[in-house]
Amino acid sequence: MGETEDFSNSHVLEKPDARQNTQREMSAEIQAISAGYGKSVNAGGAVLTQPRLDYPPYRSSILRHPTKSLHHADPETIELFSPAFGHQDVNPLESDLTIVHAGEPQGERIVVAGKVLDGDGRPVAGQLVEIWQANAAGRYIHKRDQHPAPIDPNFTGVGRCITGADGSYSFTTIKPGAYPWKNHLNAWRPAHIHFSLFGSEFTQRIVTQMYFPGDQLFPLDPIYQSIVDQHARDRLVATYNHELTSPEWALGYNWDIVLTGSKRTWTENEALGVEGDDHE
């Protein structure tokens, strides 16, 4: 916690910076990188499954990506295990982001549910999932977010849960809005929910973002496009699922998450999946 929230400057937007690129220029950069990748794959080059760390269209990445190759290491001892989380850590109510305050939040109520699996398709049971997001108007409860869209007094936008024995998770929340940022002129992020995931091994730790199907901002967004492979990008997009939709209550989206493969030799009990510290 710690940070004192102060929204007194919420209507002060910096003036456009003349040195900033337009969306047209940004899109040309994105398309050039994409075309280069397409050529490389057609020539038999590697298919990338993760974002490029070196992706200049996302300006903040320029000084924040390693310029040396990642060093291949065989995970050892501690890295082959994961921190343990359970119902001491997370209250079951934390998976419902719409009941945190006295009133109902504004916006479109949704359920986002799916499974966390490892690279071999095994469920990741009893592990921590954390999410955070903007409200329906595209505003984060964060003092540095100065987008002059309304704060919703009934929505914070933070949730947690512990996965079930089958790796399942489910959150009830509000569909987040798109929001503007200052990467370039007229830059807008597609609506997304941040996800933080743990596996059964430390090497599987990942933070990512889930998107909504059919977003018109996808081709324009350098963060989404930093994953240069279309098939890989598609893995971040949830699927609308009417079976998950509740009548007169909430629309349902399904999104499964696959972590990297397991490196440890599994014992029989572990392979069966144990649900954290609590077997309800």
Binding site: A46, S61, I62, W132, Y140, H194, I206, V207
Partner: protein, 194 residues
């Protein structure tokens, strides 16, 4: 080879500050308690400027080298060592954990703390390690360290403070860039796998 292709990572972004931090997130032990040490340093970017919006997580064995499987990191009771902690850098790029010196998990191995780094502007998490500086023989024999040139190897070694703490900096880019690790053989698959 994995049967399923992993979901891509994405940047943690700028607005995690109300979501990821929690009370005592960086206190694996209560500060000042018996055996506790401070692990601290600065995260800097390719221009040498501090990175004020990074998140570091550590995961380590106990002082006796055992790997614990205790829940309760998010709601610490003040007594249970869970081996895991999280912290965010402040305005000056500095971070601090209160923890213990990790023990060797197998006899004669070099003790280290596993670290994962997230930041605004960083597209995907970075894994690394911070080794205790003392056991020269174990460090020489360490499989990872011995595979690195001397100048790069140094980026994974903590310095011991006079008060017993550990000082270890993260340099995200540049000549003295920290060694970051890839466990999965690279973020690629063969063209027919997709």
């Amino acid at each position: 080879m994995s049967k399923h292709i992993p979901t891509p990572g994405q940047t943690v972004g700028p607005f995690f500050g109300y979501a990821l931090p929690f009370g005592k997130d960086n206190e694996l032990l209560a500060p000042g308690s018996a055996g506790s040490i401070r692990l601290h340093g600065t995260v800097t970017d390719g221009a040498g400027e501090p990175v004020p919006d990074a998140v570091l997580e550590i995961w380590q064995p106990a002082a006796d080298g055992s790997i614990v499987a205790e829940t309760g990191s998010l709601v610490r009771d003040g007594y249970t060592f869970t081996g895991w902690g999280r912290t965010s850098t402040g305005n000056t790029g500095k971070y601090t954990f209160t923890t213990v010196n990790p023990g060797a998990t197998t006899p004669g191995s070099a003790p280290f703390i596993a670290v994962v780094v997230f930041a605004r502007g960083l597209m995907n998490r970075l894994f690394t390690r911070v080794y205790l500086p003392e056991d020269a023989e174990a460090l020489t024999n360490d499989p990872l360290l011995s595979s690195l040139p001397a100048n790069r190897r140094a980026t994974l070694l903590a310095e011991r403070d006079l008060d017993g703490g550990l000082r270890w900096d993260v340099r995200m880019q540049g000549e003295d860039e920290t060694v970051f690790l890839e466990f999965d053989g690279g973020a690629t698959v063969s063209p027919d796998a997709r």
